[in-house]
């Protein structure tokens, strides 16, 4: 017995990508939109994003430390949650609220349900909605971009479209580039689409959820939207598509692995559901924006969707009656 080798069951090779690599890809994909947000809304925006990231990582570390669990901050998932929370904040939010929101996301939504892979709600979105309920004023105080230190408050295009706020609607090109009022990371659609394409090309996500989500929402808005200002229907639709959190939500939140369906058919149902709900909330609801609520509602339906979209196994035969 000269040589003794390691024995384990097959397969004996493994692809190299780990959870941390996937999270890193998501972070890379979000960077362009993050930098645009900081460019538009100033250094305060950078401070908010960094605070959210730091808070998420620290809360994850502390929770796991106190609960005697293995420390998982190296998997980068807390960084992604923090980054997404930061990008979902209005540019003038007080930092302590960001810290409180991060604590809610990491401890209550993620860790209490068992940590990464076990939470049923998207932590960043749940935190945003929690904050919206807790500090409605601060969470909807939006400013005009590129106005520096003396930021001028401004209504978001969605609020104007809804008729719940006064203001001038931005040109379509400005909405697409992100030169409008809104959360730090949600306005720059061009950069968000770029990041989304990167994730699709890298096969981190697939097209099903974002494409069906955006498409269903656009079709419903085109057909049944409440066009208050008699804009050309296409312009009205595109303004809706490129305003608010739709791109950020569709590419980066509705594609979160843990809280969305795992079957290909289920992913289409999820995207369609998000599209319908977002349209319904924006059209008939009390809030001008409905992306967060739509995705969270569909998160809740995810286990059910998975159960009813179990793929037909290879070699399936109808039982004889």
């Amino acid at each position: 017995m000269e040589h003794r080798f390691i024995v384990s069951s097959s397969p004996h090779i493994h692809q190299k990508e780990t959870v941390a690599d996937i999270m890193l890809d998501v972070i890379v994909a979000l960077l362009p939109a993050t930098f645009m947000g900081i460019y538009y809304f100033g250094l305060n925006a950078a401070l908010i994003v960094l605070t959210a990231i730091a808070a998420c990582v620290v809360f994850e570390y502390l929770y796991e430390l106190f609960m005697h669990k293995s420390i998982t901050v190296k998997d980068m998932s807390a960084v992604v949650t923090g980054l997404l929370i930061g990008l979902n904040m209005p540019p003038t939010i007080p930092l302590w609220m960001v810290v409180a929101g991060s604590a809610f996301a990491i401890i209550i939504v993620k860790q209490l349900y068992g940590g990464l892979g076990k939470n049923f709600l998207n932590p960043a979105l749940a935190a945003r909605c929690f904050m919206l309920a807790a500090w409605a004023g601060a969470m909807t105080a939006f400013v005009q971009p590129l106005t520096g230190a003396d930021a001028v408050t401004s209504a978001t295009p969605l609020a104007i479209l809804k008729g719940s706020a006064e203001g001038t609607l931005p040109a379509l090109s400005k909405a697409f580039l992100g030169i409008t009022g809104g959360s730090i990371g949600e306005t720059s659609d061009a950069m968000l689409i770029l990041g989304g394409l990167y994730l699709i090309i890298k096969r981190v996500i697939n097209w099903r959820i974002p494409v069906t989500y955006i498409l269903v929402f656009a079709i419903l808005t085109f057909l049944f939207g409440n066009n208050l200002y008699d804009l050309p229907q296409l312009q009205f639709t595109l303004l809706h598509v490129f305003s608010g959190g739709l791109m950020l939500g569709a590419f980066f939140m509705a594609t979160d692995y843990t809280t969305t369906p795992t079957t290909l058919k289920g992913q289409i149902i999820f995207g369609v559901g998000c599209g319908i709900l977002t349209f319904v909330i924006r059209r008939f609801g009390g809030y001008p924006e409905g992306v967060s609520f739509s995705i969270l509602l569909m998160n809740i339906l995810t286990p059910l969707i998975d159960r009813y979209t179990v793929p037909k196994k290879f070699g399936f035969q109808k039982p004889l009656k």
Partner: protein, 439 residues
């Protein structure tokens, strides 16, 4: 357009090391070990005792009572040293016949060629059985059983499996390049046994030279089918689907959709059984992996210890962590190089990376990649979850028994879970429960 199936995955095939290296025949070893477990089916009983003289092709173990079994032959001439329990490549000890090689390679008197042209289907099948031919791709199912479909099942498609979808392995590839006429000949004999006019050979497109070579040797009755390079294209059910668009029913056999699949080396053995009369006593073994000094494809006599093959390739280089019999996706890890080559040893892969990434502490993040790529359309992440929670009934409901254990789910998992391990556990447990319920 190359044909294929749904699901699966392109895996870096790592075949460069050996695909251009011609098959090299090597001498036998001083001692040959023949474990009596070399096929799926009824167990064998040795027909020799210590001290007996055997020649090349002499039957050393047989079971004439059971249909699903084939005899085992000596691959060298010499003296039986012992009949004792020795380690089998599957890791357990089984009764084995140990023969001391006299180096003369005298042929048994009973070995003589037969012309299949003058034989009936029954006679052909009988010769194939007596020649000890089994599926040499890994499972080792007796070939004559495949060629004797059950009453009422009509075979319409006979397919030779030249997919060779496992990374590293190139033995079938070399066979198709070097002796395509033997493959065609063996296939035609099998077609005659089944009364078929038409035969198929499926080959992955990463072997264009093999497709070319086989096309040159084939006549109008043999169709060469290019297959998409995708693992597990060579899995029986996936191969049948790619070529016939028929799905072998869950729990069923290829014969249920009129198909028979034979491995490349297997049809070559069928040809040899008639043209030279020699039973299955040798095979091609791919020697590869980053720890084999001179990788290649060896033609070796059954029963040689792995160490002799490794020596024939210049020995190991570097720190060998793993020695795998077969491919890296479905092969069996060996703890020692002292076990012998058996009929299903398609390759020996020596790797410096143990490839064991499994980590209990990282979670499933529900990325769904295992579901997207499962060639059987199963949901490995849920199966993993159910089994870990002890919910065997749920695992059964989610079709755990249909898993072909191709390993894609464990290979892909970024959460470093091993769904396949859970699935194997469940399959064993459920099969055991079913047996108990029957009793």
């Amino acid at each position: 357009m190359a044909k294929t199936f749904k699901g699966g995955l392109y895996i870096d095939d790592n075949k460069k090391r050996t695909e251009k290296v011609p098959i090299r025949m090597i001498d036998g070893s001083p001692i040959h070990i023949y474990p009596l477990q070399q096929h799926i089916g009824a167990p064998l009983k040795e027909t020799v005792k210590p001290g007996d003289k055997v020649k090349v092709g002499t039957v050393i173990a047989d079971n004439t009572d059971a249909f699903v079994s084939v005899p085992l032959h000596s691959s060298v001439s010499g003296t039986v040293k012992a009949v004792e329990r020795r380690y089998h490549p599957s890791g357990i000890k089984v009764t084995s016949v140990v023969v001391e090689n006299d180096g003369l390679y005298e042929t048994d008197e009973n070995i003589r060629p037969r012309d299949p042209q003058n034989l009936t289907s029954k006679e052909i099948i009988s010769v194939i059985r007596r020649s000890g031919v089994v599926g040499m791709g890994g499972a080792g199912f007796p070939t004559h059983v495949k060629l004797s479909p059950p009453e009422g099942k009509k075979i319409t498609h006979i397919i030779v499996n030249g997919a060779e979808c496992e990374p590293y392995l190139t033995s079938d590839h070399r066979r198709m390049l070097e002796t395509p006429e033997e493959i065609i000949d063996g296939l035609k004999i099998a077609m005659k046994a089944l009364g078929l006019e038409q035969g198929y050979v499926g080959i992955e497109t990463n072997k264009p030279d093999a497709i070319e070579s086989m096309k040159k040797s084939a006549d109008e009755n043999i169709t060469i089918v290019p297959l998409k390079t995708k693992y597990p294209q060579g899995a029986e059910k996936q191969l049948i689907y790619a070529i016939t668009k028929r799905q072998v029913p869950s729990g069923g056999l290829p014969a249920d959709v009129g198909a028979v699949v034979l491995n490349i080396d297997t049809v070559v053995q069928i040809s040899k059984a008639f043209r030279t009369g020699m039973p299955l006593i040798e095979r091609i073994v791919t020697m590869s992996g980053d720890c084999i000094k001179n990788p290649g494809n060896l033609q070796v006599r059954i029963g040689m210890p792995f160490s002799a093959l490794i020596d024939a390739c210049g020995g190991f280089t570097g720190d060998v962590k793993k020695l795998i019999m077969g491919g890296p996706m479905m092969g069996i890890a060996q703890f020692s190089a002292d076990v012998p080559v058996i009929k299903t040893t398609s390759g020996l892969i020596a790797l410096s990376d143990d490839g064991n990434t499994y980590d209990e502490n990282t979670p499933c993040i529900r990325c769904g990649k295992c579901i997207e790529h499962c060639p059987m359309n199963l949901m490995p992440l849920y199966l993993n979850k159910f089994v870990r929670a002890g919910k065997l009934d749920m695992a059964e409901k989610y079709n755990v028994m249909d898993c072909i254990e191709c390993g894609i789910c464990s290979y892909l998992c970024p959460g470093l879970q091993s769904p396949l391990n859970s699935i194997r556990m469940a399959k064993q447990q459920i099969a055991e429960n079913r047996r108990k319920n029957k009793d």
